[in-house]
């Protein structure tokens, strides 16, 4: 079944929040104000004890849960003699985690963070070349043979223009998701950050993407340095990013939108207010939520 056919059967989740340990008590006491949660699988995979206890609390609270990884490293080139660049141990742990949380889909970044078996703990940009695209597509095929749930790729923010570009970033992303037949997780803050750092037109970028493949959207705040912007997820969403989000809403209708906040946490009511503001910018939100089984 093609991804676009499969997408028709995916649930509408609404507006959710990235689940972080520091937010957990507030999340559990405000269940009715949060439509769904996104979990970072690496915080639970291969771990036991009190980590899993926290996961049980979320399952008991009946949150729809989605997995958004940071260490899949879908862009890793295979080492000599290997057919793909993925870590088999990671794949097994991720598969078990997805099964446990009954995630309708899962996502990770269009980047690399593992080289020759060594993890770098950083989401690094790939060159926008056909070679890199082919490697990513092959890795996605291996991933989807291993894990059958729908997979979404996220556009990353980056601060150095990768070398040797055979095509624009939007063309490169389109090439990959169409050849791999997977979905898009569109991070609208990353689009904004890159547009400023790399002097690109964010609307033109959106218009070159296959937006019919967008299942989920990330929205977040960032930090302004003197000469470039850093995607920190540590500030409220700014007006310019909200405006870009509105432009996106005119172009597609994602099934889920997620507010990412990873540090410098404000009072929880402020985060709930941001969720509400996002809902107000989604024209079909109330209708779609009412249609949910």
């Amino acid at each position: 079944m093609s991804f676009l056919t499969c997408k028709k059967n995916l649930p509408y989740l609404g507006v959710g929040l990235g689940c972080r340990d520091a937010l957990l008590p507030d999340i559990l006491t405000h269940r009715e104000s949060i439509d769904w949660l996104e979990l970072v699988p690496e915080n639970y995979m291969g771990r036991q004890g009190l980590h899993l206890e926290k996961l049980e609390w979320l399952l008991e609270a009946d949150f729809p849960l989605v997995s958004h990884g940071v260490s899949l490293s879908i862009g890793s080139a295979p080492m000599a003699g290997e057919l793909h660049g993925l870590d088999p141990v990671y794949l097994n742990e991720l598969e078990a985690f997805l099964h446990k949380i009954e995630a309708p889909w899962f996502s990770d970044h269009l980047s690399f963070s593992r080289v020759n078996g060594q993890y770098l703990n950083e989401l690094l940009a790939l060159p926008h070349t056909q070679e890199a695209a082919d490697i990513v597509v092959r890795n996605i095929h291996v991933l989807q043979q291993h894990i059958q749930q729908p997979f979404l790729l996220e556009n990353i923010s980056y601060y150095l223009r990768p070398y040797a570009q055979d095509m624009s970033e939007a063309q490169w992303i389109t090439t990959i998701v169409e050849a791999a037949d997977c979905g898009l997780m569109l991070d609208i803050n990353n689009v904004y950050v890159n547009s400023k750092n790399l002097n690109q037109d964010p609307i033109a970028f959106l218009d070159q993407l296959p937006l019919e493949r967008v299942v989920q959207v990330h929205i977040a705040g960032h930090f302004k340095q003197e000469d470039f912007i850093i995607d920190t997820h540590g500030a409220p969403v700014c007006e310019e990013v909200y405006a870009l989000f509105e432009a996106l809403m005119e172009r597609c209708e994602p099934l889920a939108v997620l507010l990412e906040r990873d540090n410098d946490f404000p009072p929880f009511q402020d985060l709930l207010a941001e969720l509400e503001q996002i809902r107000c910018l989604m024209p079909h939100y109330q209708k779609r939520l009412n249609l949910r089984p």
């Binding site: 690496e42 995979m45 291969g46 771990r47 036991q48 004890g49 009190l50 980590h51 206890e53 926290k54 260490s71 862009g75 890793s76 080139a77 295979p78 080492m79 870590d87 141990v89 990671y90 742990e93 690399f112 593992r114 080289v115 020759n116 078996g117 060594q118 993890y119 770098l120 703990n121 950083e122 690094l124 790939l126 060159p127 070349t129 070679e131 890199a132 490697i135 601060y159 150095l160 223009r161 990768p162 070398y163 040797a164 790399l198 000469d227 470039f228 850093i230």
Partner: protein, 243 residues
């Protein structure tokens, strides 16, 4: 340059530390301010490790004056091998034991690191399936009685490290699930022996016999061991770590 070479260049740059620069071939691909922007990535990787160290091993970190240098050297020696960020610190105890960077550090810092890393292990405990003890139970052997002065150690820091006389000690760590936190307590040798035997899956009656035989061998008062053992087992049950 193919993709694997490109990625290997990044890997070397990010793991080498502050003295490293990206290969000159990269400079032709960079946009404006290449140094500041490329340094951002290196800074990000090291600040991640720094934040992780401060979060998971705060007391250990407070006794390391040159923390960035320590972490750079550590990361070169123990580069991250799996997808779990917290595992990046799995080698800290051995690193402190084996490397000369520890020369300027207090001799009891290894014990602090042992206890703090054991807290992580206890939090993430799988445990032995055959043991009657809760999986989070960890027995930590130290060369200095650091837990006795833990609160003072938390306050002192690298510019004022206290003198501690060496004396072997045992620390018991276990999870209190309802509080989502790890408890730690100093224990005596007999409790330690019980915990070790129970963790090996030895049944209570058999463990008691092993302990009695040990007392006999060492000419210790065997008559009291049974009463002391009953009290120990009762205490372990009260703590909720022995079923």
């Amino acid at each position: 340059m193919n993709l694997l070479d490109y990625q290997a260049q990044w890997s070397a740059y990010l793991l080498q530390g502050s003295s490293a620069k990206l290969d000159s071939r990269f400079s032709t691909w960079l946009s404006s301010q290449p140094d500041a922007r490329s340094h951002f990535y290196q800074h990000s990787v090291f600040s991640t490790l720094n934040d992780l160290f401060l979060a998971l091993m705060p007391v250990t970190a407070s006794y390391i004056k040159e923390l960035p240098l320590f972490l750079e050297t550590y990361q070169k020696t123990y580069p991250p091998r799996d997808a779990h960020l917290y595992n990046t610190l799995a080698g800290v105890v051995i690193f402190l034991e084996e490397h000369s960077i520890g020369e300027s550090l207090p001799p009891w810092l290894v014990d602090i690191a042992k206890i703090e890393w054991s807290e992580r292990l206890s939090y993430n405990a799988v445990g032995s399936q055959q043991s009657l003890l809760h999986p989070s139970v960890i027995l930590c052997k130290t060369a200095y009685p650091v837990l006795e002065v833990w609160e003072d150690l938390k306050q002192a820091g690298w510019n004022n490290p206290p003198d501690i006389e060496p004396q072997a000690a045992l620390v018991l760590l276990y999870a209190r699930a309802e509080k989502s936190e790890i408890q730690k307590m100093s224990i005596g040798p007999l409790v330690g022996l019980w915990v070790e035997l129970l963790q090996q899956g030895v049944a209570e009656a058999e463990a008691l016999k092993v302990i009695q035989d040990l007392f006999l061998e060492q000419n210790l008062p065997v008559l009291t061991v049974e009463a002391q053992s009953s009290a120990i087992l009762l205490k372990l049950r009260e703590l909720g770590i022995l079923s």
